[in-house]
Point group: C2
């Protein structure tokens, strides 16, 4: 019953002497392949070929493909820049963090399919989480609310970026730019929205604007709403408040676990 959970991070890695093939090299090459040609392009055979090594040699350094992807994913987490909250406002930190994620996801579009469904316990992910939680601590959130704020921000950014990425994938595949594709797709969405005239009208508006700026605006819109909402909760929930020690949790936890033995 113990330890069904397995992850690259729960096993210790094999020796790091100086083999002709190294884990870091494998991860880097896999990343190149993924960035250049997407998730489907990464096969162990192709990776081996690109490494100039035998396909199955990879399995000495990495248990299986899933673990390899965990490793590459954590590299991407490493690209999520989050400034030090002591140097600006928490809103600035959160906002710039959000934009940094967006940018990293654009650089590595394939992650969007993995990131939400893979537990983030690699070193870079932990570093990021730590700084994010610290940001909301500095902002004035207490207890689990720090976690809630962090996961809310992450959820929004990941959720809103996903369609952007699939849009970019479509433009790339069609060999058109955003506005051209938008124009080309007009009959499709028109037909789809045939039964909903007010929806069709809404879509028609997009013909008059630059699609990419509209998407950027969309991102900013939701981000602002979210931060506004967080700020409102901060002001509402926080009475002047005596400084709390981190070592006294449970204080504001209403619901204690009932199934506790």
């Amino acid at each position: 019953m113990e330890q069904q959970f397995s992850s690259v991070w729960t096993r210790e890695r094999r020796t790091a002497k100086s083999p002709t093939l190294s884990r870091t090299q494998i991860v880097r090459t896999a990343m190149e392949l993924l960035d250049a040609e997407g998730l489907d392009a990464l096969s162990m055979r192709r990776l081996g070929a690109k490494l100039g090594s035998g396909t199955t040699s990879i399995y000495w350094h990495v248990a299986n493909k899933d673990e390899l992807l965990e490793l590459v994913l954590d590299e991407v987490y490493g690209e999520f820049d989050i400034p030090d909250v002591r140097e600006t406002t928490w809103r600035n930190v959160a906002s710039s963090f959000a934009y940094s994620i967006r940018q990293a996801l654009f650089a590595h579009p394939w992650v969007i399919s993995y990131i939400g469904t893979t537990p983030a316990i690699g070193p870079n992910a932990m570093r990021m989480m730590s700084r994010l939680v610290a940001t909301f601590d500095h902002a004035g959130f207490r207890g689990l609310d720090q976690d809630h704020a962090a996961s809310t921000l992450l959820a929004y950014v990941l959720g809103v970026t996903a369609p952007e990425i699939s849009w970019r994938a479509m433009t790339a595949k069609a060999g058109l730019d955003s506005n051209e594709l938008n124009e080309a797709l007009q009959p499709v969405v028109e037909k789809a929205a045939a039964d909903y005239p007010e929806l069709a009208a809404r879509y028609a508006e997009y013909r008059c604007v630059d699609v990419d700026s509209a998407r950027a605006l969309n991102f900013e819109f939701g981000l602002t709403c979210l931060l506004d909402g967080l700020e409102a909760r901060l002001n509402r929930a926080t009475p002047p408040l005596a400084p709390r020690s981190h070592s006294a949790p449970g204080a504001d936890i209403e619901e204690t676990r009932e199934s506790r033995r």
Copy 2:
């Protein structure tokens, strides 16, 4: 250059005489397989076997596996319930919509990997979008802001539900309930958070609460923030504003949702 984009919804379906195998039957069976055993379990061979037909017979009714998934996905969109905004406040509609999505995703965990990256132009998706946009229109949003509000809400709900689903998948695989798994995973996260004591402290708090209720609280937290933020923007951006066509919105009808809490 024209029409590289292809989707089930852009081709018209083949005749619907009364064949021994029908598209609806295929979609329904695929859904059963997906719900019961997840994305990996759906292979054309297994589907054919479950249908009691030849594997490749499916390809007469459906162009390929991707199109089949588009069809099943739209079925799930059909389960996203969104009440009529004329019967409550837009906040109630948005909130109950969010919870409905969450519930549907729990029933069909596999969609979370598809939904963000597949264009939503099926009939059920369009119907949902239409009602959602109408909701925000009724709330007072104008122009593209209606779209922005809709996509922001969707982004948050999908983004925040994804980790919940992967958590549920882990519990299912381990054969434990949430709290047991949380306990069992404690050494793992402790080790992962070793370098970040304040993060470890945060995680330790989760040992004192029921994990599932904590997640529910997390969902509600972010949802409230988001709706607060949307409302704030509404109040800010809207000058007194001449009475609009959708007048007399029973805004005072406070409907309590039973599925919540």
